[in-house]
């Protein structure tokens, strides 16, 4: 097990107005190397959950535990978390290469070493030709790939993605889904992927969590019963539709309550 959430609750308390409960007590265990999709309606609190796991937000109650806590220092643990936002959020004044070296620079690595790791990572996402270009000169899909490379360059043990491909067109999105799955199989990190698309969750994940409307609780914790080897043709497979249907039903019931 890589991660354990016990009774994690979050209540927003605005300076004016009533307190807003966002997460009901959430208990969750995520196995090492698992690919977990988190589904839920817009604004249900799935991003909040991800931000709490990333350490960007603190739970109002409850704890988050790490398996490796005793064996490695906290700083080491933090460095092996990576986060991909809804939009690419690159630094516009840095070239593609220097955007990807950034996390290594912040960790205090040498420039030459950082650049060689960054080049190798950019190759993994198919951007070796674009290293000297600037974000403003790239398409949305390419920018997202840079963002993915920036996350992968630290060799994260936990990769958190918050609806990363939601703004892209269908074809680009499927390409990036394929690529992400390949990278996950190759690198073996734990992935938590927030999305509102049942198809994307079904295609990508080994396990899917469906959250209810705010305040979020877990409606369904479902192991996706599809082969590990997944390719584009799987999307037309009836088994795929059946799995996506299960998630869809859970989403509907969670919205109805």
């Amino acid at each position: 097990m890589a991660l354990r959430l016990s009774g994690v609750t979050r209540i927003f308390r605005p300076t004016h107005g009533d307190a807003v409960p966002v997460l009901e007590p959430i208990d969750l265990e995520v196995g090492r190397g698992e690919f977990l999709a988190v589904l839920g309606p817009s604004g249900c609190g799935k991003s909040t959950l991800l931000r709490i796991i990333a350490g960007l937000d603190r739970p109002t109650a409850g704890t988050i535990g790490w398996l490796e806590q005793g064996t490695t220092g906290e700083a080491e643990e933090a460095r092996s978390i990576a986060y991909v936002f809804q939009d690419a959020h690159l630094l516009p004044w840095r070239s593609v290469l220097r955007n990807v070296t950034l996390p290594l620079e912040l960790a205090g690595g040498g420039r030459a070493e950082a650049e060689s790791i960054a080049r190798a990572t950019l190759e993994q996402v198919g951007l070796e030709e674009a290293v000297d270009r600037y974000p403003a000169e790239l398409s949305g899909g390419m920018r997202m790939r840079v963002s993915l490379a920036r996350a992968l360059v630290v060799r994260p043990r936990l990769l958190l993605l918050d609806e990363p491909f939601a703004a892209l067109d269908e074809i680009t999105r499927q390409e990036l889904d394929d690529q992400l799955r390949t990278l996950w199989l190759a690198n073996g990190m734990t992935v938590i992927f927030v999305t509102h698309s049942t198809n994307e969750a079904t295609f990508l994940a080994a396990r899917a969590l469906v959250l209810s409307m705010r305040p979020a609780r877990i409606c369904l914790d479902h192991r996706i019963e599809l082969p590990t080897d997944r390719n584009a043709s799987l999307r037309a497979d009836p088994r795929f539709a059946a799995q996506a249907g299960i998630l869809y039903q859970a989403l509907l019931s969670g919205n109805r309550r």
Partner: protein, 256 residues
């Protein structure tokens, strides 16, 4: 390219020729006393005949302006970084920054002479005081409006305050710093000339001397040189902005 240049330069140059031509005719036909308003041709003649003196005066003013502006850039950005560290510090000290904006420079210029003596130091101080506020205000706005997701990114990678300042906040604020400097460049010329009125030197003294001799044409010629100086500085600041931002910032991308 030649067509592009014509489209770009014909309107401003054309309007200049037409307007000065009209002024020339109106002044000559209306028999306005050259003591009140000399015709543009007379001003141009003085600007050429007195050009050695005017150029050397301009270079004196230019040095004071450049030093004052440089100080504004360094001190202004430093102050903005200090103010941006916390809301408390901003609330406590920003009013003093506004003081630089509202202070009537003409009123305190004599004070600068008392503090710094006659000469270029008082002139530099005057240029500095009037040009620092736009640098502080714009830089502060830029530092405070950094993309929150990028702040989160730096937090996830455990970046310290120094790394965050130099790798995120200052580069993100650069377009605003340059906008501030562009505004400041015009103000610095005003500040320097007011400083020269009381502290001596440069175009300010030429203007005062011409006024005492009732040489209105020379006053206009000196004003023309001062305007050109301001224009050149504005152009320099715009060029710096274009060169440093052209690959990433929306404000420079359309210019191409």
């Amino acid at each position: 390219m030649s067509a592009g240049w014509a489209v770009r330069w014909l309107p401003p140059v054309g309007s200049l020729v037409v307007l000065t031509g009209l002024a020339e005719v109106a002044i000559r036909v209306g028999r306005v006393s050259p003591l009140l308003l000399p015709p543009p041709s007379a001003v141009l003649a003085v600007a050429v005949s007195e050009s050695p003196a005017l150029l050397s005066a301009s270079s004196g003013t230019a040095i004071a302006v450049l030093v004052g502006l440089g100080l504004s850039a360094v001190v202004g950005v430093t102050i903005a970084v200090g103010l941006s560290t916390s809301r408390f510090i901003e609330r406590a000290f920003y009013p003093y920054a506004i003081f630089f904006q509202v202070v009537p420079i003409v009123a305190i210029a004599p004070l600068l002479v008392i503090w710094f003596g006659y000469g270029i130091r008082a002139v530099i101080a005057s240029a500095f005081i009037v040009s620092i506020f736009p640098v502080i205000a714009n830089t502060l706005a830029g530092l405070l409006s950094v993309d929150p997701a990028l702040r989160d990114l730096f937090r996830i990678y455990r970046a310290g305050p120094v790394d965050t300042l130099f790798r995120l906040r200052l580069p993100a604020a650069l377009p605003d710093v340059l906008t501030g400097l562009r505004v400041a460049s015009g103000l610095a010329v005003i500040g320097a000339i007011v400083g020269e009125f009381v502290g001596g030197g440069g175009l300010g003294v030429v203007i005062l001397g011409a006024m005492r001799e009732q040489r209105t044409d020379l006053v206009f010629a000196a004003v023309g040189y001062a305007s050109l100086l301001g224009l050149a500085l504005f152009g320099l600041a715009s060029l710096a902005s274009h060169l440093s931002l052209r690959r990433w910032h929306a404000s420079e991308k359309e210019l191409g």
